[in-house]
Structures are given as C-alpha cells and as structure tokens.
C-alpha cells in the first residue's frame, strides 16, 4: 500500500505568543514549531497501516520554506520512508492554492491513500484535505476517528454530535484524521539518526492564484479583573444575586 501523509509545520500554540508588528501574523520571535497535532495522528495512522498490513511505503509531504524539512525529518524519524518538500518562501493562507500544489504532486504518485490531519492547529481552516481530494477527483472522508483499510477500499468512523457514523469508500481516497485514532509515537534515537539518510526531494510548489489574504489577527481582550463582593457568609446573598442577574449562570 502506498500512502502519502500531508503535514504542516505550525507554531506551538500552547506556548505564549504575540502578534507581529504588521498585525497580520504571529511574531516569529520565541515561537517553537512542530508538526501540527492532527497531522501527527495522520502520520501515526499511515505508519500503522503499513506495519500491520504491509508491504507498503509512507511518503510525507509538506509545503513551505526550507524549515519544513525539519518537520519532514521528524516524520522520517518516526518511520516514514521518504519525504517531499514543495518549496515556497511563504505559505499562502488560501487553502485552494495549497491544495493545487499538493494535488499536482499527488495525482500521478500512485498513492492508494492520502492522509491529512483534520485541520492545522494554527490556521484551523479544515479546507486543504477536501479541496485536494476534489482536485484529484477522489472520495474524501473528513474527521475520521477510526480507519480500516481492506483490499481496494476502506471504512471510516466519524464522531457526530451524540452519534457515530461509519462511511465506506473505495481507494484511492483522501482521509482527514481526527485525534484519538492513534497516539503519535516519538521518533526513536535510531529513527532520528536514520532520518538523515532517507530521501527528501525538493520541488517548487505550484500554487496558482491565491485569493485569500489575512487582514488582521488579534488576541482576545484581557478578561476583566475579578470583583470581591464581600467576605464570609454575609457575602452569599449578594454573590447569588450577581450570579443570577449579572453572570446569569444560576
């Protein structure tokens, strides 16, 4: 089975970050980058499918500047067989442009399955996977929490509000992976050493026209400071009144 996993290098949003001077992007100072969380799950799913059902090969693909090679090598360290960087100095915000670049790379690659994370943890658009599938003309299942592949096709489970749904699809297909499918493994030290020797091809990304641009990005306003309404039992009636009339939680 030949599997491609499309991964994105994103800043760690759990660490403190600030908005850059132009007000349209994060300030790169102090940011730490890693593979997007859901994309890590997708890599793990790809590796397990080949391990359990082999023979096969996992190719990881990322779009962006030279720095994405570090992220690709992390996936190679986890066990992917080869990597492709679709080189671009900057990543357009327009998911369709990225999907065009990916589809152009993927469509003649002979992949049985193309995996994405459900969304990138920085831009959270959830568009690139489905758009790539559309451009490739293959079926797409999104936000999959369980994936089974059999000869020529597969079934995927999706979590809905209060229910789960199982979808059948033929291969080749695009599947976007939700968390909970398989916890990503850490790259072993031997894996990290081996990653240097695995093939990493670099080709220019062909985006076409990118029509979306970010106008501004802003942090949420600071929470208003707390208020002390009194002390001890005497304060309870006032507290209850405020919870009912102001906060409206009682």
């Amino acid at each position: 089975m030949k599997i491609a996993v499309c991964i994105k290098r994103v800043p760690d949003m759990d660490l403190r970050f600030s908005i850059g001077a132009g007000g349209k992007a994060l300030d790169p100072a102090g940011l730490k980058y890693d593979i997007a969380d859901f994309d890590g799950y997708a890599v793990e799913v790809g590796l397990r499918l080949v391990e359990q059902q082999g023979p096969g090969e996992v190719t990881v693909i990322s779009v962006g500047p030279a720095a994405v090679q570090e992220t690709l090598r992390k996936a190679l360290g986890m066990g992917a067989d080869r990597a492709i960087q679709l080189a671009a100095d900057e990543l357009p915000f327009d998911g369709l442009a990225i999907a065009r670049a990916l589809a152009a790379e993927l469509k003649d690659g002979g992949y049985d399955l193309v995996l994405f994370g459900r969304m990138a943890t920085d831009s959270a658009n959830q568009t690139v996977g489905p758009m790539t599938a559309h451009l490739m003309g293959v079926p797409c299942v999104t936000a999959v929490s369980r994936l089974d592949i059999v000869a020529g096709g597969g079934t995927a489970e999706r979590q809905l509000e209060g229910a789960s749904e199982t979808v059948a699809f033929p291969l080749p297909a695009v599947v976007t992976i939700d968390e909970g499918v398989a916890r990503p493994r850490l790259p072993s030290l031997k894996g990290i050493m081996a990653a240097k020797k695995k093939p990493l091809d670099v080709r220019p990304a062909q985006f076409g026209e990118a029509r979306l641009t970010v106008q501004s990005i802003a942090l949420p306003p600071d929470r208003p400071p707390g208020r002390i309404v009194g002390e001890g039992a005497d304060a309870v009636p006032e507290l209850v009144r405020l919870l009912q009339t102001e906060a409206k939680v009682l």
Binding site: D12, S188, L189, K190
Partner: protein
C-alpha cells in the same frame, strides 16, 4: 506532540545545536512529560524506581546512546547524549542516574575494555534493557579513594574468585549484571585493579537495597557482597588495567552528570518563574518583588553560563580533546549551581515548596546526592587545584 516544558534558553543556545541534536532533545523532553512526570512524585514518595519505564527508555534508545550502532546503540554524538541526560534529569536525578550507570558505567567499560565477544554479547542486551547493569567500584571504606579498595580477584584453575563488598551502588538490587572492580595482585597494588563482568545470578553474589534514603528516592541504591564468587576466566575485561580504567568510566558518567545538572536547574527555575508570576501576595504577584526577581535573575544567569560551558565541553568531547579536568570543572560547577537553583526555587515557593506536588524540593534533595557522588564537589575542587598548580593536595 510538543513538550509542555519550554526549556530555558536566554542566549539562543538552541542556535548552537544541530537540527539532529534539537530533535533528540525535543524527543526526550516530550517523553519525560508524557511518561515520567505523571509518575515521578509518587515513585519518589514510595521510594521506588519506576521500573515500568525501562522498556520505553530502551526502545527509544536512551541506554548507551553514544555507543556505536553495530552494538545496537544509536551512535549519537556526545552533545546529543548530554542533552538526553539533561532532559532526563529535568524529570528526576534518579532516572538520569539509571541511564548514566547503564550507559556510561556498564556499557562504556564493556565497550572500551571488553573483548569483541563481550561487546557483541552484552551491549545489545544492555541497550535493549534485557539486562540491567550496575558498577561496583566504591566500597564502605573507600569512596573518594577508590584505589584503596580491598575487594580481590584471585585467579584459580576454574576462573576468578571474587571477595569483597561494594556500597552506594546505583541500580544494584535490580541489576542482572555488574561490572566489579577488584585487585588481582597485592592489596596495595593499584595497578592490579581489573574489571569483571559478574552476572548477579552468580553464586556468592548478593545485593540489597540501602534503606532510609532522603535523596534519590526514585532510584535503587544498594550494597553488594561478593563471597567466594566464582566467575569464568573470560569474565575479566581484558583491556582494563589499573585504577585509570574505572576512572575513565567515571569521566564518561560525570560528563553526563554535568548536563543533568542543567536539566534539574531548568526544572526548578521554570517552576519558580511560573509560581512567581501567578502567586499573589499583598495584592500583586510575588514576581513583582525585588527579592524574588533577584532569585530568578541569579538562577537564569547561572543556568545560561552552565549551558554554554557544557555545550563547549561536549564539542571538545566530540573532537576528542576533552580532558578529565575539564569534566571536573563542569560537574563541580553545574551541580553546585543546580543545588543553589533548587534551594532558591524551593524558598521562592514558600510553604508550597515542601510539597511533592511541586518539584523543587525533590530536585533539591536529589542534588545533594549528585553533589556527593561521582567525585564529591570537594574532590573536584582538589582535582582542579592539582590541574593548575601541579601539586596534589589529596
């Protein structure tokens, strides 16, 4: 997948690391967050080494990581190896001690002084955690003066007969194999010291835990007794000879300890900084007071100095020019620095600082052992004194 521990990097020391070195550091950091931090507090209170972590550590390649791939190891450079030690000790000195002993004090002597057969047999088993090792050098009456040891190895027609006792042996009671150092000649003949590979199943070999420790509680520390312990002739490490051999092992281990000290100090600084920003007293964060800022500035400065010092030590080791005296300087400086950082952090944390829920006091207690083992702080002072004056003051 990223670690929740951001590390301390005021001088962009990361920029001095290769991508591969950063990848190794990040992986171990994530492992510590995911597997060690959730269990270390309880293991420490119970006084138990968290054995369940060994298979994972072995699978990821933490054991003997700087030894060659042909023996089942990862073949990392020494900076990457040091970063592993740093990150493990960010979790707990006891866990770093486990990895240090296995890699630097058991696998290294087999690698450096062993026969090809010994290397091929033991190194893959130790790298994979199938065997756990310990290092028997220190004796009840010979700590800083290991050359005075009274453990003997007498050659008989059936093999080597070992007699003696070893003390303060990390991993001792869980080890399946020990590297035992013993005198093969007269009791005052330091040159006759040789290393032996002794499986703990050997008749006459016993190990028991040393009880009542108030430090390194999540680590096994044991006493080993060898009573007419007969090992085959090929149990001797053929290329070992004299006190220099075990001291070479200690240089390897001390190198890792120097890195480990940075990890423990970073953990304490990180905890102190976070607490200082969030703990409100007199209507403002305690981090807004000059006293606590002074503590934090001092910790940050010393950590940064140690990072640069130790990275250069690693580069020298990778170049093959590192000297034991340079390792003494780093071990002495970094562990003293970590002891100070842990103590200051614990104090900054006020009453909360004595709880196992926080980490500083555990590190503080651990580091008293690290300050004392692998050459006490004072002994390293004398080593440096001798290095610069040429005059031994032991």
């Amino acid at each position: 997948m990223a670690s929740t521990f951001a590390g301390v990097d005021f001088y962009d020391v990361d920029g001095l690391l290769s991508e591969e070195e950063r990848a190794v550091r990040d992986m171990v950091r994530a492992w510590v967050d995911e597997h060690l931090m959730p269990v270390i507090g309880e293991a420490y209170i119970k006084g138990e080494f968290p054995r369940q972590l060994i298979p994972g550590m072995a699978e990821l390649g933490f054991l003997g990581a700087n030894l060659p791939e042909e023996y089942g190891c990862a073949g990392l450079n020494n900076v990457a190896y040091g970063l592993i030690m740093q990150e493990l000790e960010r979790g707990d000195s006891g866990i770093r001690s486990f990895a240090s002993v296995q890699g630097a004090l058991v696998m290294y002597p087999i690698y450096a002084f062993g026969s090809e057969e010994q290397k091929k047999h033991w190194l893959p088993r130790l790298a994979s955690g199938k065997d756990i090792g310990c290092f028997g050098l220190t004796e009840p009456d010979y700590g800083s003066n290991p050359g005075g040891m009274i453990t003997t190895a007498r050659e008989t027609k059936d093999g080597w007969l070992l007699n003696g006792a070893k003390m303060w042996i990390t991993n001792g009671s869980q080890a399946t194999v020990s590297i035992i150092w013993a005198k093969t000649g007269a009791i005052d003949d330091v040159k006759s010291i040789r290393g032996f590979i002794v499986p703990s199943s050997t008749k006459g070999y016993t190990a028991k835990d040393q009880k009542g420790k108030l430090s390194l509680r999540a680590s096994d520390t044991s006493e080993i007794v060898l009573q007419d312990c007969l090992v085959p002739k090929d149990a001797i490490l053929p290329k070992s000879g004299g006190i220099k051999s075990p001291l070479m092992c200690l240089t390897q281990a001390r190198y890792g300890i120097a890195w480990g000290g940075i990890g423990a100090a970073m953990a304490c600084y990180d905890e102190a900084l976070s607490y200082a920003k969030n703990r409100i007293m007199f209507g403002k964060p305690i981090g807004q007071t000059q006293l606590q800022q002074s503590r934090l500035a001092e910790m940050l400065t010393e950590i940064t100095k140690a990072q640069l010092l130790t990275l250069q030590l690693g580069r020298l080791k990778d170049k093959g020019t590192m000297t034991p005296d340079q390792v003494s300087l780093a071990k002495r400086n970094n562990i003293n620095m970590a002891c100070e950082a842990a103590r200051e952090s614990r104090r900054l944390l006020g009453a909360n600082g004595i709880l196992a829920e926080y980490h500083s006091m555990r590190h503080m207690a651990n580091l008293e052992s690290v300050y004392t083992y692998e050459g006490t702080h004072d002994m390293h002072t004398l080593i440096l004194g001798q290095a610069v004056t040429g005059l031994p003051a032991f």
